[in-house]
């Protein structure tokens, strides 16, 4: 079966997604990032587990995904953005991140690990917040969400250079940052 044929099979896609989710949740829990203390520890700059997990995922993921893109096996799916959407929304998200102590993925993992605050507070709150946004969306879409729009551009596209000129130095820079963190005993 060709890959694009696989992408068309809806039932099979749902099953593969479920299995990928199980692996994702297993990894998040083993990494400790479904734990409130670990996430708040990161935001208080005491425990750098969250950053270590994310940064190593970016290095490994980025090298593989861009290699497969070069081989014509996959397409990128960069999200559209603007300063009004990505930066302002990002700061609101960050506020919620510190108050809740989980994010939308880790909150599901925290519920799976038995965290009652993640279920009663976190999941309920995220559902309410998403609904509120949907209600306000028509007004926001015409206004702030468009401010400073830069579309679905990737950094290599924005700079107008070859992908690998960003991917390789970018991954090296992240690796150096991780080594510095480790050497600093963080």
């Amino acid at each position: 079966m060709k890959l694009y044929e696989l992408h068309e099979k809806k039932g099979l896609q749902l099953l593969i997604a479920l299995l990928c989710g199980v692996v994702f949740g297993f990894l998040l829990q083993k990494g400790g990032v479904t734990d409130y203390d670990v996430i708040i520890g990161q935001l208080l700059l005491r425990d750098f587990t969250v950053l270590k997990v994310m940064m190593s995922a970016v290095i490994v993921g980025s090298l593989g995904v861009y290699a497969m893109k070069s081989a014509g096996l996959v397409h990128l799916h960069p999200k559209p953005g603007s300063f009004g959407s990505s930066a302002v929304g990002g700061l609101i998200f960050g506020f919620g991140f510190a108050i809740l102590g989980y994010c939308p993925g880790t909150v599901a993992g925290a519920v799976g690990s038995g965290a009652v605050d993640a279920l009663l507070g976190g999941v309920t709150g995220i559902l309410i917040g998403s609904g509120l946004f949907a209600a306000m969306y028509p007004r926001l879409r015409a206004g702030i969400l468009q401010k400073g729009d830069f579309g679905t551009r990737t950094i290599p596209q924005a700079l107008g250079i070859n992908d690998w000129l960003v991917v390789i130095p970018g991954c090296i820079l992240i690796a150096v940052l991780l080594v510095i963190l480790e050497n600093a005993g963080l």
């Binding site: 694009y4 935001l43 919620g96 510190a98 939308p104 605050d117 969400l145 830069f150």
Partner: protein
């Protein structure tokens, strides 16, 4: 198979595993890993239970149809995977006690629930405003070197660190922790 029963794995091994998982979702699903859209769809599905099909006519739900899609299954899988992992390591326990919370706020479960709910509302709202969360922007978007995702991810942490320092340092404690 003792490694499956360990309480914690190296964060680098876990990160590398998530990176490889990204290869798989790009290859087999033609999708980057993400979580927050599933909450938006669920919110729409719940609203539909009360208000009927006209909910689907809302501009937001025309773009993000309230239905069970691949990402919804992924989030369901995250719940199951974390449950499996915590059962295997014996760390599963039903509780809302957290060491850092208790350190600053003492035994205040009701306050913790109010925080979780309020933080959840801000997070749900902010993730839809930014068009993604720590998974969709923070991992999948940054690994694609998307401009929107790097800006969003930096703001997630800038906002998160500032708020945490304020809440735990200034309000609950004394001075910056």
């Amino acid at each position: 198979m003792e490694w499956l029963e360990l309480g914690r794995w190296s964060p680098y091994a876990v990160g590398a595993g998530i990176g490889v998982l990204s290869w798989i979702t790009f290859l087999l699903l033609d999708k980057p890993i993400g979580c927050s859209t599933a909450f938006a769809r669920t919110s729409g599905m719940i609203e539909k239970l009360f208000k009927g099909n006209r909910v689907s006519e809302k501009p937001y739900y025309r773009e993000f149809v309230p239905e069970i899609d691949w990402e919804w299954m992924l989030v369901a899988g995250v719940f199951a995977g974390a449950f499996l992992s915590s059962i295997l390591s014996g760390t599963f326990h039903i509780s809302m006690e957290h060491a850092v919370w208790t350190e600053y706020f003492g035994h205040t479960p009701v306050l913790r629930l109010i925080f979780a709910l309020a933080g959840g509302v801000a997070m749900g709202f902010g993730s839809r405003w930014a068009g993604g969360c720590t998974s969709g922007h923070g991992i999948s978007g940054t690994l694609q070197w998307a401009l929107s995702s790097w800006i969003a991810a930096l703001c997630f942490f800038a906002g998160g660190i500032a708020t945490a320092m304020l809440v735990f340092g200034v309000v609950a404690g004394g001075g910056i922790p």
